[in-house]
Symmetry: C2
Subunit: 176 residues, 2 copies
């Protein structure tokens, strides 16, 4: 091992306990990482990893963190994109479930109890709360950031604000 | 929770301790999951998740499991594709490091000690062993499956054989 900074070090959030500080670090690290890189698969992969490790450093039991994008073969549905966590549903119809609703309405869905969300699609029966932020570029939905949590009320308005800031950077730095 | 099978359940390997059995289950699960789905981003995401959870169920300290593909903008390099683990290097020149060597030679690289591999590229300074299997379709390299382990000698010929079987299915089931 040497003293140089490895890419993996971006996943370290130390013992930070302030959620807003940790999520701001995710936004800043994403921006540093994607400097001169616009490949969306590459950038969404590292973004998923940043989000996953940030919530785990905060001891928030996130069980899935990643992306769906509009399916290039069928724009009426979303298709699985880079993520961290267990195996996931491959496709989701736009308008269906939490992800599909965010994609249709172009509005973040902050769901404190997924069991109360009409038409919730369970890729993992252990998920209890969820936040989904739509990725919008030039007025059109390109995909969604989706984060699932094992407990109820896993996310609040602070998460929403900072994840929306992250997604705004994602939208602006990837070629869609 | 209901009795139906969720996608996340594919990530459960129970208390299996037989490596060959667990890795064969990865191959079989991959095949079941990609039935009628040829989107490579989607399929490589779920494949990464299967591999990650399989090794963790076996208590093998895998710290990164995922893919690099040939960069569509610059075929002299690989670019980061779906993975599980910490933030990773975005691009790797073909011919450089363990991934680049596998991609250049079209041969699996089973590296029991990465510190002895000439020109090893450390995305994570904690990695000690690595296996990289090239994805070849119609005679050309399309990408690599890359798995890193925290300990020396993390992988052997049994891993190689079963991961090559997985990659053969990946090659045949994705549109490149």
């Amino acid at each position: 091992m040497t003293d140089e900074k490895h890419h993996a070090d971006y996943s370290s959030f130390g013992n930070a306990t302030d959620k807003k500080e940790v999520l701001q670090q995710v936004v800043d690290s994403y921006e540093a990482l994607v400097y001169e890189q616009s490949n969306w698969v590459c950038n969404l992969g590292n973004a998923s990893s940043l989000v996953w490790h940030a919530y785990h450093s905060l001891k928030v039991p996130v069980n899935w963190a990643g992306f769906y994008v509009v399916d290039p073969k069928d724009p009426s549905q979303l298709i699985l994109a880079p993520f961290q966590g267990k195996v996931a549903c491959q496709t989701i119809k736009i308008g269906k479930g939490v992800c599909g609703t965010a994609a249709e309405k172009l509005e973040t869905q902050l769901v404190r109890d997924v069991n109360k969300f009409p038409g919730h699609i369970a890729c993992d029966g252990e998920t209890n709360s969820e936040i989904v932020v739509p990725i919008v570029f030039e007025g059109k939905v390109r995909g969604v950031l989706d984060i699932d949590c094992l407990v109820l009320n896993g996310f609040d308005e602070d998460d929403q604000k900072l994840l929306e800031a992250l997604v705004e950077k994602i939208s602006a730095t990837c070629e869609w």
